[in-house]
C-alpha cells in the first residue's frame, strides 16, 4: 500500500527509493519478521498451557484457511509459523502439501523454507513424500548451486528406499561435479543412499575414489565417510579399497606436518574431524590385514606421540588412534603405547576422557590383560567417581581384571563399592562378586567370609541363586568351618534381627537360618570356643548365645510381618531342625509352641508346614530325629544359573527329610537325573522303603553310578542298607503319607493333556518286567508316561523308577501310581521333559525293586525315541 502511494513521485530521489525498498523488504522478507515474530511473542507470552493452546489453535485455523484459499503470497510465512508450532509439539501434517508447493516455486526463499518444512514434516511412511521426488529431480539439475545444495541436503535427510533408487543416478552425476560445494553434498547423499539401499553401491564406486585426490577438506571428509560406509558394506569393496591406504596415510601425514592453517585449525590441531575419519577408515582397512597394518604402523605411532593432549581435540584424535592400534595387526610396542595413552586418560581431569578410557580399556582388556592390570589402582579409584556412568564402567572393568593374585585386594575394594553403590548396581555387582569369589577364592574360609559379606551388603538385591550356592559351599565345608559359618551368620542374623533391618537382607536371613538349623548344635556348644572369630579388623566380638536366646531371635523374625513367606519357610524348618540340635527342655518347649502356632497361620503354605511339623511331635514323633538329621554335603553345581534357580526353593523342603538325600545330594547329578524338582513330586513315596541314608557318601555314589553308567553290581544297594544303622526303620505307609503332604505341589498334578501322541517306546524288558514309555509331544515339552508291567509270578515290592537326562534337558517326574507291582499289574509314572535345545533325547533309567526279598537293580539307556519328538 505504501509502495503505491509513493509510487510514481515525479520528484523521486534515491532516498525515497531506499525507503520504499526497505519497507518492502521488511514486509515481504521471509519469514516476514513481524508476523512470525509476533506469533512467537504471543505464544511465549501465554502464561498457561491452555492459553498457549488457544493461541496456537487460532493460528492453525487461520493457516489452514489460507492454505485452502491457495494464498501463495503468504505461504512461505505461514509454513514458517507452522514449523514453529510443530516444534512445540502440535500437529502440523496439514502443511506437508504446502511445503511441496513451496519447493516447486521458482523463488529461492520459497524453496529454502519449503525444503526445511519437508525435512521436518515429511514422514517416509506417508505417500506424500513420493511427490517430492520429482521436485528434487528438477532441483538437482538446477543451475544455482544453492538450489542443488538444498535438494541434496533434503535427499540426504529423508531419502526413502524408493527415492534413493529414483535419484541415485543424479547423485552419482553430481559427485563428479567440479564444484566442491555440490561434490561434498553429493558424496554424503550417496552415503545415505547406500545406507538405505546397499544394492546401489556399485554405481558409486568409480566416482568415489577420485574424491581422495581433492584438496578441499569438505570433499575429503565426505569422501572418506563414503568409502568407510562402502567398506563396511561388503568385504569385496573393502579389498578394493585396500590400495588407498598409502593415500590416506599421505593425507594424514600432511595434516600433521602442515603448519598452522587458520581455516581448519581447532585449538592447535589441524582438522581433527578429518583426522578422526581417516583413522577410523584405516582401522577398517587394516583389520586382519598384516600388509595394510604394516603400512599404517608408522603414521599411527606418529599421531600417538605427536598429538597435543591438553585439549579435548587432541584426546579425540588419540582416542581414535588407540582404537585403531588395538584393532589392526599393530606392533606390540605400539599396543603398549596405546594402553599407556588410556592410562594417562584415566588420570585426566576431564570426566569425559576418563569415561572414554574406561570404555576402551573394557574393550581391550581381553586382548592384553597384563597391560591393563598396570592401571588397576587408577581403575579402582574410578569406582569412587561421582559420575554414575564412570562408576559402572569402572565396575565392569574391575571384574574383568580380577585374577588369582589380586582377588583379595580387588574384592575388598569391590565390597566397599557394593556397600555404597546405588541400588541399580547391587544385583549385578553382587552376582559378579559371587562368581569371582567362586573362581579365584584363595581359601575356603576367605570364600565363606566374602560370601557372608556380600550377603550382608547386597541385601535383597542379591540374586536368588547366590543363596543356594552359598548353602552348597557351607554344606560341603569342613566341620569346624561349618561351625564357624554358623557363628558368623548368627552374629549377622542377631544384629539384623535386633536392629530390625532383616527385611532388607532376606537372602542373608535365609542362609543364616539354613546354616544355624543344620549346625545349631555347634553354635551353642562349648566346642565353638576353640574357633577363632577374629575378623579382618582383628576384633573378636562373638558372644556364644544360649539356646533360648537363639529361639527368641527366631521368634522375633518369624513374628515379623515383613519377611517374605519364603524366608519364613527357611526359618520355620530351621527351627524344627533346632529341636533335634538343642537339648534343654525350655528351648524344646519354646520351639514346639512356635511351631504349633503356625498350624493356624494365615498363609496356607506356612500353615501346612506348621501342621506337618507339629505332627512330628505327636503321631510321628519317632520319625523326628531321622527326618531332621543333618544334610549331607552337597556337591558343587556344575550347571548354570538356570538350573539353580528352582533348586533354591527346594532346599527348605529337603531340610525336613534327610532321607531324601540320595536325590538332593549330588548336585551335579541333580541336573542330570531327577532334577532338583523331583523332590517336590513323585519319587518321594519310595524313600521310606529305601533305607534312610544318613551316610551320604554311599548314597551319592549310588547316584553317581547311575549317571556315570558305571557297572553297578547288585551289591550296591545292600551297601547302602548296611551303612544305615542309626535310623529306625520307619513304617512305610504313614511316612509316605506324611511326606506326600509335605511335598506334593498341586501345580504339578493336573496337567492338561493337549499334546500329540506318538508311538510307545519300549525301554526295558527283563525277568518278566517290561517298561514302556507312552510319548506325547507339545512344543518344547515331551510327556513320557512310564508303564511298568510285570509278568513275573511274584509281586515286586519297593519298586522305584529313576531316570536321568543329559544336561541340556530338564526332567520333571510326577508321583508314581504305586510302589508295589503285583503279577500282571501295572505302575505308571509321568515324566515331563523340556528340551529347549531340541536335540535328540537320550534317557538313562534305573529300576530297583525287591522280588521275594532279593533286591534287583536294572539299568538301561533309551535312545530309540521317534526323531520327530522335538521337531
Amino acid at each position: 500500500m505504501n509502495g503505491s502511494e509513493s509510487g510514481f513521485n515525479p520528484a523521486f530521489n534515491i532516498a525515497t527509493i531506499k525507503q520504499v525498498v526497505n519497507e518492502a523488504i521488511e514486509r515481504v522478507r521471509m519469514p516476514t519478521p513481524t508476523r512470525l515474530r509476533d506469533l512467537i511473542r504471543q505464544i511465549r507470552a501465554a502464561r498457561t498451557a491452555a492459553e498457549e493452546r488457544s493461541v496456537v489453535n487460532k493460528e492453525c485455523a487461520y493457516i489452514r484457511s489460507t492454505f485452502r484459499e491457495e494464498d501463495s503470497v503468504w505461504r512461505c510465512r505461514n509454513i514458517a509459523k507452522l514449523l514453529y508450532i510443530h516444534m512445540l509439539g502440535y500437529p502440523a501434517h496439514f502443511g506437508q502439501l504446502e511445503c511441496l508447493k513451496l519447493i516447486a516455486s521458482p523463488r529461492f526463499t520459497d524453496k529454502r523454507v519449503g525444503y526445511l518444512g519437508a525435512m521436518l514434516l515429511l514422514d517416509e511412511r506417508q505417500d506424500v513424500h513420493l511427490l517430492i521426488t520429482n521436485c528434487l529431480k528438477n532441483d538437482l539439475n538446477s543451475n544455482t548451486q544453492f538450489v542443488v545444495g538444498l535438494a541434496l541436503c533434503t535427499l540426504g535427510a529423508i531419502a526413502s528406499p524408493e527415492m534413493a533408487r529414483d535419484l541415485a543416478s543424479e547423485v552419482e552425476r553430481l559427485i563428479k561435479s567440479p564444484n566442491a560445494y555440490i561434490k561434498k553434498k553429493a558424496a554424503l547423499c550417496a552415503f545415505r543412499i547406500i545406507r538405505r539401499v546397499p544394492d546401489l553401491m556399485e554405481m558409486f564406486l568409480p566416482a568415489t575414489r577420485s574424491l581422495l585426490t581433492e584438496k578441499n577438506h569438505g570433499v575429503l571428509i565426505t569422501g572418506v565417510t563414503l568409502i568407510t560406509e562402502m567398506c563396511e558394506n561388503s568385504p569385496d569393496t573393502l579389498n578394493h579399497f585396500k590400495k588407498i591406504v598409502p593415500n590416506l596415510v599421505r593425507i594424514l601425514k600432511n595434516l600433521i606436518l602442515a603448519g598452522y592453517s587458520p581455516e581448519h585449525d581447532v585449538s592447535g590441531v589441524s582438522d581433527p574431524f578429518l583426522q578422526v575419519k581417516i583413522l577410523r577408515l584405516l582401522r577398517i582397512l587394516g583389520k586382519n590385514d598384516a600388509e595394510a597394518s604394516e603400512a599404517m604402523n608408522d603414521i599411527l605411532a606418529q599421531v600417538a606421540t605427536n598429538t597435543e593432549t591438553s585439549k579435548n581435540v587432541g584426546n579425540t584424535i588419540l582416542y581414535e588412534t588407540v582404537l585403531s592400534i588395538m584393532d589392526i595387526k599393530s606392533e606390540s610396542s605400539l599396543r603398549v603405547l596405546a594402553i599407556n595413552i588410556l592410562g594417562r586418560f584415566l588420570l585426566n581431569n576431564d570426566k569425559n576422557i576418563r569415561y572414554v578410557a574406561l570404555n576402551t580399556l573394557l574393550r581391550t582388556v581381553h586382548v592384553d590383560t597384563s597391560a591393563v592390570q598396570r592401571h588397576r589402582t587408577t581403575i579402582l579409584e574410578c569406582l569412587k567417581d561421582p559420575d554414575v556412568s564412570i562408576r559402572r564402567r569402572a565396575m565392569e572393568l574391575s571384574f574383568a581384571l580380577i585374577n588369582g593374585q589380586n582377588i583379595r585386594s580387588m574384592m575388598k575394594e569391590l565390597l566397599s563399592f557394593l556397600d555404597r553403590s546405588d541400588a541399580e548396581f547391587k544385583a549385578h555387582c553382587s552376582s559378579a562378586m559371587v562368581l569371582a569369589a567362586e573362581r579365584y577364592a584363595p581359601s575356603n574360609k576367605w570364600h565363606l567370609d566374602t560370601l557372608f559379606r556380600v550377603l550382608l551388603k547386597a541385601g535383597n538385591y542379591l540374586r536368588d541363586d547366590t543363596v543356594s550356592s552359598t548353602l552348597q559351599i557351607v554344606s560341603s565345608a569342613a566341620p569346624e568351618r561349618q561351625a564357624y559359618a554358623a557363628m558368623r551368620l548368627w552374629s549377622s542374623l542377631e544384629r539384623s534381627a535386633v536392629s530390625g533391618d532383616a527385611t532388607e537382607k532376606q537372602p542373608l536371613v535365609q542362609v543364616a537360618a539354613w546354616t544355624i538349623g543344620e549346625y545349631g548344635d555347634l553354635l551353642v556348644s562349648e566346642a565353638s570356643n576353640a574357633i577363632s572369630m577374629v575378623d579382618e579388623d582383628g576384633v573378636d566380638d562373638f558372644v556364644r548365645p544360649s539356646e533360648e536366646y537363639v529361639i527368641d531371635i527366631y521368634q522375633k523374625l518369624l513374628w515379623s510381618t515383613q519377611l517374605s513367606i519364603n524366608t519364613k519357610e527357611y526359618l520355620l524348618l530351621s527351627l524344627a531342625k533346632l529341636s533335634t540340635r538343642f537339648t534343654t527342655q525350655p528351648s524344646q518347649d519354646k520351639i514346639r509352641v512356635i511351631i504349633d502356632t503356625f498350624g493356624s497361620h494365615i498363609h496356607i503354605e506356612l500353615q501346612q508346614r506348621g501342621v506337618e511339623l507339629s505332627q512330628l511331635y505327636r503321631n510321628y514323633a519317632h520319625l523326628r530325629p531321622a527326618l531332621l538329621e543333618r544334610m549331607p554335603a552337597m556337591e558343587a553345581p556344575a550347571s548354570g544359573p538356570e538350573a539353580r534357580d528352582d533348586s533354591d526353593h527346594d532346599h527348605d523342603l529337603s531340610d525336613a527329610s534327610p532321607d531324601h538325600k540320595p536325590d538332593q545330594v549330588a548336585d551335579a547329578l541333580l541336573d542330570l537325573i531327577i532334577g532338583s524338582d523331583s523332590l517336590t513330586n513323585g519319587d518321594v513315596d519310595h524313600k521310606p522303603s529305601q533305607p534312610p541314608a544318613s551316610n551320604n557318601n554311599s548314597s551319592s555314589n549310588d547316584i553317581l553310578d547311575l549317571l556315570s553308567g558305571l557297572d553297578l553290581t547288585p551289591t550296591a544297594p545292600s551297601n547302602v542298607m548296611n551303612n544305615n544303622v542309626s535310623a529306625p526303620a520307619p513304617a512305610p505307609a504313614p511316612a509316605a503319607l506324611l511326606l506326600d503332604g509335605l511335598f506334593a505341589t498341586p501345580a504339578h498334578i493336573n496337567t492338561p493333556v493337549t499334546q500329540v501322541d506318538l508311538p510307545t517306546v519300549t525301554a526295558l524288558e527283563k525277568n518278566g518286567l517290561r517298561i514302556v514309555f507312552g510319548v506325547q509331544r507339545g512344543g518344547d515339552t515331551v510327556t513320557l508316561t512310564m508303564r511298568a508291567n510285570s509278568s513275573a509270578s511274584s509281586t515286586l515290592t519297593d519298586f522305584l523308577f529313576q531316570a536321568a537326562v543329559p544336561r541340556t534337558f530338564q526332567l520333571d517326574m510326577m508321583s508314581p501310581s504305586g510302589t508295589v507291582l503285583p503279577p500282571q499289574g501295572e505302575i505308571t509314572q509321568v515324566l515331563k521333559i523340556t528340551n529347549p535345545s531340541r536335540s535328540a533325547l537320550r534317557l538313562r533309567i534305573r529300576v530297583s525293586y525287591n522280588v521275594d526279598g532279593v533286591p534287583v537293580l536294572e539299568q538301561a539307556e533309551v535312545s530309540s525315541f521317534p526323531p520327530e519328538l522335538f521337531n
Binding site: 522478507r29 512467537i40 574431524f273 561421582p386 556412568s389
Partner: protein
C-alpha cells in the same frame, strides 16, 4: 552417523530438532520427551555421555541450552563434542554472541546453519569460513529476491 540432534532449554522446551533417521512422529515425540527428562536429571558433575537404548547420547550445555546428539555405537564421542562446539561457534559467529532467544526467533536460520554443517547425519564441512560463506550467499540470494519483488511492486522493474 548421527541419528538425531535436539536443542532444548533448561526448562525442557524443545528449541530445535533434526532427525536423520525416519521415525513416526509419535515415536519422535516419545524419544524427545524421555531424553530431555533423562539429560536434565543428570548432575553437572557427570560426564557428557549416556548410553541410552541402542545409541550413545552426547550432550553439552551452553548457557541455558542443551545440545544433544544421538550417535551410533562406533562413533567417537569426543569428536561429537567437537561437532557440537563447532555448531555453537557457527551460531555465535552468525548471530554475534548467540543467545537462546536468537535461536527461538530465528529457528529457521539455526536449521540452515546446521544443514550446511551436517548432511545426512555426517559432517560435510570442516571449515567454519566455508559454512558461513554459504549461508551468507544464500541469505543474499533471498534478499536479492525481496528487493527484486519490492521493485517490481513499486513498478521500477
Amino acid at each position: 552417523m548421527m541419528q538425531f540432534m535436539l536443542l532444548f532449554s533448561r526448562q525442557g522446551k524443545l528449541r530445535l530438532q533434526k532427525w536423520y533417521v525416519a521415525h513416526p512422529d509419535k515415536l519422535k515425540k516419545k524419544i524427545t520427551r524421555e531424553l530431555i527428562t533423562t539429560v536434565l536429571a543428570r548432575k553437572p558433575k557427570m560426564c557428557s555421555f549416556l548410553e541410552w537404548k541402542d545409541v550413545k547420547i552426547v550432550y553439552k550445555r551452553y548457557a541455558s541450552l542443551y545440545f544433544c546428539c544421538a550417535m551410533e555405537q562406533e562413533d567417537n564421542e569426543l569428536l561429537t563434542l567437537e561437532l557440537i562446539h563447532r555448531y555453537v561457534e557457527l551460531l555465535d559467529k552468525y548471530f554475534g554472541s548467540v543467545c537462546e532467544l536468537d535461536i527461538i526467533f530465528n529457528f529457521e536460520k539455526a536449521y540452515f546453519i546446521l544443514d550446511e554443517l551436517v548432511l545426512g547425519g555426517e559432517l560435510q564441512e570442516t571449515s567454519k569460513k566455508n559454512v558461513l560463506k554459504a549461508i551468507a550467499a544464500q541469505d543474499l540470494l533471498q534478499e536479492d529476491e525481496t528487493v527484486d519483488a519490492a521493485l517490481r511492486e513499486v513498478g521500477l522493474l
